[in-house]
Every structure is written in C-alpha cells, then in structure tokens.
C-alpha cells in the first residue's frame, strides 16, 4: 500500500506532497508547515548518510543496489512498525520519497519511483506554466500519480 508521495528539489525544498486516501493509512494529516519540515529533514538525513558512508564501502554498496544508477550513498529507507519510507534521488538531485506499508520492498519501490519520475518528466517539465524549483501544481500530474497509487493499492 502506498500512503504518501513527496518530491523535493535539489536544495531540499518541498515541491510536491500528497497524502492519499488509502484505507487504514497510519499517516495522519499534518499542518502544511510540518510537511516542509519533514521534507527538509529527510533531505538532511539523506546527505548525512552519504557523508558517513566509508569510501571503500561504496563499491560493495553499488553492486548490491537494485535501483537505477543513482543515489549511491544517500539514505534509502526508513522503517517503523507501521510504515516504511523509501527515497531515491535522480542524478539531477530531485528526490522522490514514498511512504508505504511495511510489506513494500525496494524492488517494488524501484518500479514506482521510475513511474513517478517519468510522469514528472512529462507532466511537470513539459508544462510551460511550470517554473523550475517551484511547487508543482499540474492537474495532469495529479491525475497520473493517482493512477500510480491506484495501481499499487488494489
């Protein structure tokens, strides 16, 4: 089950956030300011994880990873008893963060991530009314993310 999607910019500001109306979602509604804090915190922790990774570990890590050639050393997953947080970063530094049920694994997240990234490329970046690094408000993008979530939550 997929609960929420966040997208952050290269500098860690929140471009997109949506909690989906998933049955039994453990995610509670936050004040809008708190979403910004969550986003920038995750952005920070991701960077710290990258900094902490010993250089000689990078090689093995690379071998093991299932995601596209990106996010080599940053944070990738956080687990709680009720939900998991997955994140991946594009080579250009955009982060796509997904809150999901504990049964979600990295391989399935990889597929979801790729779909979200593709929709971002199409329905956000090809829209003349969207300005880079600004919050995303594109109706077609919403529609397509909804269908990604629906496909995942059947």
């Amino acid at each position: 089950m997929l609960y929420s999607i966040y997208i952050t910019s290269r500098s860690g500001s929140l471009l997109y956030q949506k909690d989906f109306k998933t049955v039994n979602s453990p995610i509670t509604k936050q004040r809008s300011n708190d979403y910004l804090v969550i986003a920038s915190t995750l952005h920070g922790v991701h960077a710290i994880a990258s900094k902490l990774t010993p250089p000689d570990a990078v090689h093995n890590y690379q071998k093991a990873k299932t995601l596209a050639n990106s996010n080599r050393t940053g944070l990738r997953e956080i687990s709680t008893s009720r939900f998991k947080i997955f994140m991946n970063q594009t080579v250009t530094g955009i982060k796509i963060i997904v809150f999901a049920s504990p049964d979600m694994d990295e391989a399935r997240f990889a597929a979801i991530y790729d779909k979200i990234y593709e929709h971002y490329c199409n329905y956000v970046l090809k829209n003349p009314f969207y300005q880079l690094d600004m919050p995303i408000r594109c109706q077609l993008f919403d529609t397509h993310l909804n269908s990604v979530v629906a496909g995942c939550n059947v």
Binding site: N122, Y123, K126, N127, P128, F129, R137, C138, Q139, L140, F141
Partner: protein
C-alpha cells in the same frame, strides 16, 4: 608572382590563372527533392519546443489575448507553407499510384472539400492521426468545427486556474487559418477546450468563414 605566360598554350591545354577564388555554390533547398523519405523524431522534442515557445510568449505578452494572438500568428505562417507541401505530395502520390491521371495539381475550391482535406490529409501529416470530427454549426451557415479529442501538443500541458480560458491550441487554430487564407477561404479560426467524458483535452477549432464567401458558394 608566378611566371606562367599568359595566353593559351596548346602543349598544356586550358588552365586557370591561379588567382581565381573558388566560388562554392550555396546548396539551395530548391535543388532538393520535396518527396524525400520522412524523418522521425521524438514527440518529446516537439513537446519541449512547444513548451518553450508558449513559455517565451507568455513572458512577453501583456495579456492572455495578446498571447493567443501571438500563438495564432506563429501558426498562421506555418499554415501557409503546409498546404503547399501537402498538396504537392498528395498529387505526387496520386500520380504514382494511378499513372492514367493527369499531372495537373488539384486545388480544392469548395469549403467542405478543403476542410475535408485539412482533417484527413494535413492533420495526419502534422500529428500522425486524422482529426476526429468535422461538423457544421447548426447556428450559423458560416461556422464549421474541426474536432480533435486529444491534441498532440497539449498532451502534457495542464493550464492552471489563473490562466483559465487560455487555449494554447490557438497555435493550431493559426495553422488552420493560414491554410484557409492562403487558398482564399477568408476566415477566422479560434480554439476552444470542450471536454467530454474520457477526453478532457478535447478541442474544437471554430472556423468562422467570411459571409461573402459562403454566399459565393451557395449561388
């Protein structure tokens, strides 16, 4: 200075004086075949170009009406070229398949014929699909409508609330207007989004012909 004697030397034959600059002929498009193999590109390239074209004009225009007019103008100049290309090719193909036909270029002179040509020949040449419908207005004799359920150029574009009423397809309306004007069907064309179930981007290109023109036709 070289010591080449001037005048013709039969032992050597003709030669240049050595100082003439070589004039490189500029290759001209007129030397090239119009009927060459088609070249495919990614739809994305077209989408990005259209994105930036709208975005640039959006920044320059003072009002949405001005923006639509600019897009319309950009399309218009394309329309005047497109018709000639398409009809040349069409006739060329006809002549290839039915050698009995004459080589005389055919030109549509009836409103319905030219509109049909636009929806069934021009549309595929630009968008890889025919237009979905061609309708005559029930309200006015002078109005016709070309309908596209999912315009290619709008595929990825959501128009935000603050630009409500703006239709970027004014560009394609301009193309249609350019085509019709260049064949002496004087008209104005505007684009309107008229969504139906399953086709949220459905666009109607409303063509308003000059009254005199319609009168001429019904004579």
């Amino acid at each position: 200075m070289s010591k080449i004697a001037s005048g013709y030397d039969p032992a050597v034959g003709p030669r240049t004086t050595g100082t003439t600059t070589v004039i490189r002929p500029r290759s001209s498009i007129y030397d090239r075949n119009l009927h060459r193999a088609r070249h495919d590109i990614s739809v994305s390239s077209l989408s990005f170009l259209f994105m930036e074209m709208v975005s640039m004009n959006l920044n320059q225009a003072k009002s949405l009406i001005e923006l639509e007019r600019k897009l319309n103008n950009l399309g218009y100049s394309i329309g005047t070229k497109v018709l000639e290309l398409a009809s040349l090719r069409e006739n060329f193909n006809n002549n290839l398949t039915s050698s009995g036909k004459s080589n005389v270029s055919k030109r549509e002179i009836k409103v319905l014929d030219i509109l049909h040509f636009i929806t069934s020949v021009i549309w595929p040449s630009l968008f890889e699909k025919p237009a979905d419908n061609l309708e005559k207005s029930s309200e006015s004799n002078c109005q016709y409508m070309i309908i596209d359920n999912a315009p290619v150029l709008m595929k990825y574009i959501s128009v935000p609330k603050e630009y409500e009423g703006l239709n970027c397809e004014a560009f394609v309306a301009g193309i249609v207007e350019g085509i019709l004007d260049s064949t002496f069907f004087k008209c104005e064309v505007s684009a309107h989004t008229v969504p139906v179930e399953g086709h949220l981007g459905r666009t109607v290109y409303l063509i308003n012909f000059d009254e005199e023109l319609i009168a001429r036709e019904t004579q």
